[in-house]
């Protein structure tokens, strides 16, 4: 890749900035651009504005946290997807390949089944994701094979299916009038309920995981080489793999715990970023983060504005993502090399 990555980065940043502007100004509750600016100025200068308190509340308590959550979740899923696609040398891989989403789903559904509160449900989801991937990794590593990556992926698929059965069992046993709809809504993914207190448990793991992955971006290039060649370059592939998996799982589990199951972002965005800045992970990881944030923000803005009802994110990302992915496959295959 010899071409400059600058235009690509500018496009990614443009998407994010446009997404932010759009997301703050549109919504079910009408907020005029003037009011928005006035609220921002009032916040910065510390003076009381003349904007109705409801509008102020919408901007700071409802829309603001949600916009931030969308950016964080999108960035987290895109970075995790990028890391996994590199690690497994496979363009079809998404962040849930090692069971993070299925584990989180089982954790959340279990929390709903026990009628726990929001934070307990999110905690169970987060924990479920971590435990599932840890289990996959331990089992996958225990199997001796010449192709440890393949064994890991297969273990992930199998454990994911088992966890899916667990989700099915709990849905089957759930109270059909109260718990079952809650489970269904959760599994479809949504940021409708995101508020300020959700951001705290989201920011920490996402920031940590993303920083680790960005720090490892040079070495991730070596991971896309065959195992022997990487070793010959002096890269400790085993520990590096653990670090990448751990960081990606941390970000994925935290975002799934907040937003529910949102597919496609971790699959589509890395490809899009690759077509913008090329396959070098040093550029690809930060570009994916920016683009992922902008992408999910745009999707979520659509989800909360197109109807009085919230459109589940999982459905929108699939509807938008499928044709988009097919187009990508047809047009930008050459950038995967």
């Amino acid at each position: 890749m010899t071409r400059s990555a600058l235009p690509g980065f500018l496009i990614a940043l443009g998407v994010l900035v446009a997404g932010l502007l759009l997301a703050f100004t549109v919504g079910r509750y009408p907020v005029a651009l003037g009011d928005l600016l006035q609220v921002l100025v009032a916040k910065i200068t510390g003076q009381a504005g003349s904007v109705p308190p409801a509008v102020e509340s919408v901007i700071w308590q409802v829309r603001g946290p949600r916009v931030l959550a969308a950016v964080l979740v999108g960035a987290a899923l895109a970075v995790a997807g990028t890391a996994f696609q590199g690690l497994f040398r496979n363009p079809l891989v998404s962040p849930d390949i090692l069971g993070a989403s299925s584990g989180a789903a089982l954790g959340a559904v279990f929390g709903i089944f026990l009628s726990l509160g929001v934070f307990a449900i999110q905690f169970f989801a987060f924990l479920g994701g971590l435990v599932a991937v840890a289990a996959v990794y331990v089992i996958g590593s225990a199997v001796r094979s010449r192709d440890p990556i393949l064994v890991l992926v297969l273990t992930g698929v199998v454990i994911g299916a088992l966890l899916g059965a667990g989700v099915g069992l709990l849905k089957y046993l759930a109270d059909p009038y109260n718990q079952l709809p809650a489970m269904t809504f959760w599994l479809l993914g949504s940021l409708a309920a995101a508020n300020v207190s959700d951001l705290v448990p989201l920011v920490g793991p996402v920031a940590l995981g993303t920083v680790v992955l960005i720090a490892l971006r040079w070495r991730m290039n070596a991971m896309s080489l065959p195992e022997e060649e990487a070793r010959a370059l002096g890269i400790a592939t085993g520990p590096l793999r653990v670090a990448i998996v751990a960081a990606a799982t941390l970000t994925t589990s935290a975002s799934v715990a907040t937003a529910g199951i949102i597919g496609w972002v971790g699959l589509v965005v890395p490809h899009l970023a690759r077509s913008l800045v090329g396959p070098d992970f040093a550029r690809l990881v930060p570009a994916s983060a920016i683009l992922g944030g902008g992408y999910l923000l745009l999707i979520d803005t659509l989800a909360r504005t197109m109807a009085p009802v919230e459109v589940p994110l999982g459905i929108l990302t699939a509807v938008v993502g499928t044709p988009f992915f097919i187009w990508l496959l047809a047009n930008v295959q050459k950038t995967w090399s």
Binding site: R28, S115, V118, L173, Y177, A193, N195, P312
Partner: protein, 351 residues
């Protein structure tokens, strides 16, 4: 909480494993009386000569049957915990879990149903092709009369009349039908002069964050829509997720919720403060013992909730004493008479 949920799981597991006991007996259709009853789907259901055991197809049917003839109830769709039985006849309440054969997902096995030797299978809920064909199929497979009654709230009167005839207790059925009829007539006639645009705008909140609600005509807001304007009536029926922005835009006068976590947190939640109902302290947690007063299961348990809601929305029109109404309803329908202290406890919405 942990232990009790585990026992629920165990109960459901037992229901799944139970069908062994009946395999030796040949399937024997109950002796028909020669009489028939038309159920709400227009199906002709043969009335058994003697009804001693009735299998409820789902929670609404179990409640309807319990209120009219607790002795006939074979078991419940899921087992009850002991603490759920405070306001029911203890021996009936503790009857075993038998699963459900309708609603979302079957948990009862037809062989289990047969092994329990019911004289009648009772279902109440939506009357549409799905449930009609299910009723026909189960009746044909088991040879047991399967009655499907209309579960809409304003048809409760008819449901009691039909059930009374099906189980040969016409007088008791008529008495319950009469109570429901009077309640509905009294309440709706007293607010009949309030034009629609003067009725309070109500938001029905579910889920721990209060962001699930029922759209127009959804079974979850049937009683609310009888008395108030559902702010979510632009949504199609059924449950939906909405955003807080949408709720702010609706700016409801009253919020009614069934979620304790939400009811406890909303009053101090700055994000909800701009909502009129929250600002004015008009957030109400629905009583839920032994069954929900507003929403689920969607059965006759909502009848007392109609009084509760009417008093909240139109205090000047409904001078009745809620404690007396509750005592009367519980003793007539749940066959227990709670003390005043218990009623006060029920009215707080606590478990």
């Amino acid at each position: 909480m942990h232990l009790s949920r585990r026992s629920l799981l165990a109960g459901a597991g037992a229901a799944l494993l139970a069908p062994r006991c009946g395999h030796a007996q040949a399937v024997q259709a109950p002796v028909a009386s020669g009489r028939t009853v038309n159920d709400s789907a227009g199906r002709v259901v043969p009335v058994p000569a003697k009804v001693t055991r009735v299998f409820p197809a789902g929670p609404p049917a179990a409640i309807l049957l319990y209120t009219l003839a607790p002795d006939l109830l074979i078991g419940w769709p899921r087992a009850h915990r002991a603490d759920e039985c405070v306001y029911m006849l203890p021996d009936v309440c503790m009857r075993p879990a038998v699963g459900r054969i309708t609603g979302r997902g079957n948990t009862a096995n037809l062989e289990t149903v047969l092994a329990l030797k019911p004289d009648l299978i009772l279902d109440i809920g939506s009357v549409n092709d799905t449930y009609i064909s299910l009723a026909d199929r189960v009746q044909q497979q088991t040879g047991i009369p399967y009655a499907l009654l209309d579960g809409r709230f304003d048809r409760t009167t008819d449901a009691y009349t039909a059930l009374g005839r099906l189980i040969g207790r016409e007088a008791a059925g008529a008495a319950h039908a009469d109570y429901c009829n009077k309640t509905l007539a009294t309440i709706t006639s007293r607010i009949a002069d309030v034009p629609r645009e003067r009725r309070p705008r109500l938001y029905y909140a579910r889920g721990p964050r209060g962001l699930q609600t029922g759209g127009k005509g959804s079974i979850n807001v049937e009683t609310a829509e009888l008395l108030a304007r559902n702010v979510a009536d632009e949504l199609p029926g059924g449950l939906a997720n909405v955003s807080l922005e949408q709720v702010l835009l609706w700016d409801p006068d009253v919020i009614v919720t069934i979620d304790r976590d939400f009811a406890a947190s909303v009053r101090n939640d700055p994000t909800w403060r701009p909502v009129r109902a929250v600002r004015e302290g008009r957030v109400f947690l629905s009583p839920s013992a032994p069954f929900g007063w507003i929403d689920f299961p969607p059965s006759v348990n909502r009848m007392i909730g109609l009084w509760w809601l009417a008093k909240i929305l139109y205090p000047e029109k409904f001078a009745e004493d809620m404690t007396a109404l509750t005592r009367d309803f519980y003793s007539k329908f749940y066959h227990v008479t709670p003390t005043d202290a218990q009623i006060a406890q029920i009215l707080t919405g606590a478990a």
